[in-house]
């Protein structure tokens, strides 16, 4: 089928400001959007810049705003979008070139919640035990691939870039609810600060944007309750 693709382009070495470029091309319904932009880069305009690696929704490189929704370009097919496809960089992070944004602020927020296992007891010679039920409590939040689709869909983040954002909260949840971890109080302390958890206005955009189907809004509510009940 013939499709019409509009891409928001910006080359810092040549353009004063971003502009829309339009391309008409043949595509199959089963093509991923990543296949479409690869085709454009390889056959039409080599200067088109975007990140990609695994091409099947695992590495988290290619989150983009596609037809108004944050998604991974490798996980959405042409047939699910129709003949008109609009692609922009994800919002709220500085655009560096075309669809490439500066990910450093995103990773800084992630690092702020201490996204690593904390347990200072000497480990046993074999594994620490954990029941299947305890393991299941934080299963959803172990799926995060740090693609930033959630954080950059959040209206609070758009207006306040210092808000830690849903991805950081998801990764805090992954440890706060792990029965083996001892760092919950410290993490809750970070989340209790001015640009932490309470900035969430339950817009639900994050949940809808997550390519890993993590129920992010629910996760954020669980952390809010933990903060209320356990204190920080």
């Amino acid at each position: 089928m013939q499709i019409n693709v509009k891409i928001k382009r910006y080359n810092p070495e040549a353009d004063a400001r971003p502009y829309w470029a339009e391309y008409k091309l043949e595509a199959r319904g089963s093509d991923r959007v990543l296949d479409v932009i690869n085709h454009l880069k390889w056959e039409v305009d080599g200067t088109l810049a975007f990140r990609r690696s695994c091409a099947h929704g695992i590495c988290g490189s290619d989150a983009m705003l596609i037809n108004g929704v944050n998604r991974l370009a490798c996980k959405v097919l042409v047939k699910d979008l129709g003949e008109r496809i609009t692609i922009e960089p994800i919002r709220g992070l500085p655009v560096l070139k075309d669809l490439i944004v500066d990910m450093e602020p995103f990773f800084d927020a992630y690092k702020a919640v201490m996204p690593f296992f904390i347990n200072d007891d000497p480990p046993p010679p074999a594994e620490r035990y954990q029941s299947a039920e305890d393991r299941a409590i934080f299963d959803e939040t172990t799926k995060c691939i740090l693609c930033a689709a959630c954080t950059t869909s959040c209206p609070v983040f758009w207006t306040n870039g210092r808000y830690l954002g849903p991805a950081a909260i998801v990764n805090a949840h992954r440890f706060i609810f792990d029965s083996r971890d001892q760092g919950a109080a410290e993490r809750l302390g970070v989340l209790n600060q001015a640009n932490g958890l309470w900035r969430c206005r339950t817009a639900y955009n994050c949940t809808e944007a997550c390519p890993r189907d993590i129920p992010i809004t629910r996760v954020i509510e669980e952390v809010k309750r933990a903060l209320l009940w356990r204190g920080a």
């Binding site: 390889w42 200067t47 690696s53 560096l96 490439i100 690593f116 074999a126 299947a132 799926k143 995060c144």
Partner: protein, 588 residues
Amino acid sequence: MSEDGTNRLMNRAHRFDVIVVGAGGAGLMAARYAAQHPGVSVAVISKLYPTRSHTGAAQGGVGAALGNVSEDHPEWHAFDTIKGGDYLTDQDVAERFAVEVIEAVYELEHMGLPFNRTPEGKIAQRKFGGHTREFGKSAVERACYAADRTGHMILQTLYQQSIKDRVNFFNEFHVLDMIMEDGACHGVVAYELATGEIHTFHAKATIIATGGNGRMFRVTSNAHALTGDLMSIAYRRGLPIEDPEFYQFHPTGLYKLGVLLTEGARGEGAILRNGDGERFMERYAPTIKDLAPRDMVSRAMYLEVREGRGAGPDKDYLHLDLTHIDAHIIETRLPDITEFARIYLGVDPVKELVPIQPTAHYAMGGIPTTIDTQVISDGQNTIVPGLYAAGEVACASIHGANRLGTNSLGDLIVFGRRAGIEAAKFAASESFTDLPAGVQDRTRELVDTVRKGKRTERVSHLRRELQDTMQEHASVFRTEAFLSRQVDILRELQERYKGVGVEDEGHQFNTELLEAIELGFLLDNAEQLVHAALNRTESRGAHSREDHKERDDTEWLKHTLIYKDGDGVRIDYKPVTLGKYEPKPRTY
């Protein structure tokens, strides 16, 4: 970075005791252990953000004889690895691996890795291809897993720990050369994607952990980034590549796309069926059937298709059948692959058969190393001072002629750890030597050549021709005629590669430039594989020659070492380290 010219120049030279190239499982494990050595400075350089590394795509599990579900022993694991490798595995390496991988798995758990759990709360384990009890009697639960995203969990856990350990990262820095002088390595030269600047990384010890090269084939499970960069750079720098002819095709890639569906699916009971609905593996491996090693299953699939028993309108694929498995097990233990089938093929594995075909997956060969991950330069095990390699890019050789499922993740953690320890020990005992003059010259020349290229050839077209012809001539089955033809094709592609260039003249995020350079790396990787495959006139493991169908232990129980020699290649050999297990015919 300062705008001041002098400072910019200074900033482009870096010095660390240990440099790790690659931020997947092996690289992050290496960095962690190197950094634990008192007083040793460490940095990781990666062309991607660390969490984009392809370790994250590994699904099924990491094999370790914990015995949590049923009795198991490292001796059984070592034997399975050696037999799975069709006796090309170095047996001392396999024996040590099978012991150390147990410690390494516990260590990952201590770092917080969220494994699935048994009812008692231990690490859950499931069956996987080629892993058996009592030296081949029946399948054993050895794969420690976290749903079907074990690699994702390993990558995330190690990256999380690296944040805790405050490891230095240079993300989106693309290594384009190694600094070699007098047979020793003194670091690397890298291109910074964001700026186009070239940086020198001076190191006492350099660890290569850059993964595989599957993008030389058309249908592959590998990420776009897996272009064998360091295997090519080492080769251009005069080092050999070991056993490149042994390349694994994973049986269950999604039809046409090659996206991986874990062998763990068959570990949970899934069955392979041909177009007639027959469970054809019963004919090829009567004892362990669908859980036979990958090389055997992929060959069986090719034969089914060739003999007209494929499925679909063109009878060119087969089916993975999960429909008899409890839907709850599918959704909880195999959620990701279930989603892949639904999204990409519109097929629901709970109710429908999934179309599959073998997909290019894993390089058993690579940069040759000792059991302690030191890179060697010849068949006499001459060590290259200051250079280490671990993970898929390396060849210790643990996987021999065919890797068993789950042993890739085991390899990363066992040999990544060892590389970190060994490199730090070496660095702590050495002092920095002066870098050779013109240390960036080769890199600048490489970049300038592509930048100023005539553009008479398109990178994407050459790459597609490379991938198509490699798939046709050098994949699951091989013959002298096809391989010789591929030698000619590669020579022609190398020639035409001189005509590539780029439209993008910019310096910031010039991904077009790097794709062009990566194609040059891929061409070298293909050259290594095809020449070595043509040279080896026997069938062993993943290397299956239709004109030499038998394994020939008299002539070929040895490792290939292939070197670049002017415009051609030179092939040498290295003996296989044997041990307890006498080479026997390989039946399952």
